[in-house]
């Protein structure tokens, strides 16, 4: 049996593989050193690489990301951790105004090869300020690459590409997936940025999903199969570059599209997917498209309330039935 690894351990494994091959890769963030990170996603790195490569910072989100930017412009490949993606708001200037623009506004004079990793999403009952899926925040900004893996192997393969990328990458690790397990990929496993994966082939409907919702979509596909509905599940893996070629090819086969998004419905990433599909693939469609996304409310604390708000298997199944029976 192949070795298995948790999604959580895949994060540190992915970083460690890159740190071993490139001495310019350096990590910084709150509690990431001896403590191994609040989610233990950097466990073991401090022991292997020591304090000159793994840097504990003060609670200074602007200084963390701003310093990473300055270091990236001057020959380092920093991997900065923002503990919870909600806290990106505290350093949003760097994601909205500085990092994505500096190359462009200087006419290409500087390069910013950095990764900002962050624990994203709900499902753990952390309440409104520690549970949001904010991948759509990043999607509003031209100049950021956006990664959100759904499996341990993809965490490792996409981490390799993110760290090697000469462009800035925001890397969303999903809190609800940390404990999940999957096969440990071989050394040198690299997943190119912007390549979606058809994780389950099907004929009747295309489910486009990302990170945690890939698992929701797969569970829904299992349930639908019992009723003879064959769902194809596309794991987008990255929001930028967005692999719309794979999505359009899938819709060409199934003629129906449902997006499954954890970010709020308002300005969620599915809106971009849908707009391109109806624009470039209108003739492919046999039914209206549906978006299953989080409701446009803050994330509530209680499990029962959170279930009301975020996408669930039942909601995806219902959406698929509505387009299949159209």
């Amino acid at each position: 049996m192949a070795d298995v690894i948790t999604y959580r351990a895949a994060v540190s494994e992915g970083i460690a593989r890159e740190m071993r091959r490139d001495p310019s890769v350096v990590c910084l963030g709150e509690d990431i050193g001896a403590a191994g990170g609040v989610f233990k996603t950097t466990a073991g790195l401090f022991e292997e690489f020591g304090p000159t490569r793994i840097w504990d910072t003060p609670i200074s989100e602007q200084a963390i990301v701003g310093a990473a930017m300055g270091a990236a412009m001057t020959g380092i490949r920093p991997v900065a951790e923002i503990m919870f993606s909600d806290f990106l708001a505290c350093c949003w200037d760097y994601l909205a105004n500085e990092i994505p623009k500096v190359r462009y506004m200087t006419g290409g004079q500087v390069t910013v090869p950095l990764v900002i990793r962050t624990a994203n999403g709900g499902g753990l009952g952390f309440g409104a300020q520690h549970s949001q899926a904010v991948e759509n925040w990043a999607l509003t900004i031209p100049g950021l690459k956006i990664v959100a893996p759904s499996t341990p192997a993809d965490v490792i393969g996409l981490m390799a590409s993110a760290i090697r990328s000469d462009d800035p990458v925001v890397f969303f690790e999903h809190k609800g997936l940390f404990a999940g397990k999957g096969p440990l990929p071989p050394a040198d496993h690299v997943v190119e940025l912007g390549r979606a994966s058809v994780v389950r082939p099907g004929d009747d409907v295309t489910l486009v999903a990302l990170a945690s919702t890939v698992h929701t979509a797969l569970a829904a596909a299992d349930e639908l199969e019992r009723d003879g509905i064959s769902a194809e599940v596309v794991d987008l893996r990255c929001l930028i570059p967005m692999d719309l070629t794979t999505v359009l090819a899938s819709v060409g086969k199934t003629s129906r599209l449902v997006t499954v998004e954890e970010n709020p419905h308002q300005a969620g990433w599915g809106a971009t997917v849908v707009s391109v599909v109806v624009d470039e693939g209108f003739e492919l469609l046999d039914a209206p498209v549906r978006r299953v996304a989080s409701a446009n409310v803050p994330l509530p604390f209680a499990d029962a309330l959170e279930d009301q708000v975020i996408p669930t298997t039942d909601k995806v199944v219902a959406a698929v039935r509505s387009v299949v029976n159209y």
Binding site: S60, A67, G70, D93, M105, T106, V110, D166, L244, V276
Partner: protein, 326 residues
Amino acid sequence: MSETTELLDLYERMAVIRRTEKAAYDMFLAGLVKGTTHLASGHEAVAVGASAALRPDDYVFATYRGHHHALARGATPEACLAELMQKSTGLCKAKGGSMHLTHAEGNMLGSYAIVGAHLPMAVGAAWSARLRGTEQVALAFFGDGATNIGAFHEALNLAAVWKLPVVFVCENNLYMEYTPIGAVTAVDRPAADRAPAYRMPAQVVDGNDVVLVREAVAAAVDRARAGDGPTVIEAETYRHYGHSRTDPATYRPAEEVERWLKHDPIDVARARLEALGVAPDEISVVDERATSTVAAAIAAAKAAPDADVAEAFTDVWADGGAQWRM
């Protein structure tokens, strides 16, 4: 180089900046410079004095009031004026404009227009120098107004905690935009009085005396290079024009303006030259050379082709392009 030759060189650099700023102002009124400008006439000694204390491989980060910093680090008046005039030969290919002059060849790594945002970047560049084992120093110029934004405090704390080779140079021109800095700041010296809170030495210096600025910055740079950590320099200066564009700056008392105009950094340098025995004729030669340098730059910038429209879609990513989807 003798003291006299060196000072003549600094004088000429300041004279070129003064004339370049005057050209920018005149061409703004003539409609040849669009958007906005934040001119640095009156601030020349800070840029030139500090730059004279740096090595070519040291890093400089500046603000939207940054023409003088780009010029002091070797950007040509022609490339700066061409940028302001939206010409393809502009320093940033006409994609940055007045507020984002950048001369990466001279390790002048950008002018940033979100107040204070570049301070953590300078900390990161200094951290990078430490990681790479070079003896480079990072220097950030910023306004008095920037001392009241969070990024300033996060940057100072991190620089102090990691004992990084950074020099923080505040150009205290007594005003943020239109509000006197004293009216909105809890301490008398907006930068220098904050330094002790971060156990950092600070020095207040006459920012209109290029020799004193050079000495103060040289001491801070030596300290930084020796591994003794960051320093704050607060250089007292005054802008000759309004805050931006054509702001007539009527909020400044006439008596105050007059007092500062009598303490013009170019006059101060000239007096020093005369005290060293340099003949007025010799200074006139330098003045005339500065005038013709800038006149030639204006002519060349005017004659240059307009911005290349194809450049709208370059330089987003490190591959030179702007592709966001597959």
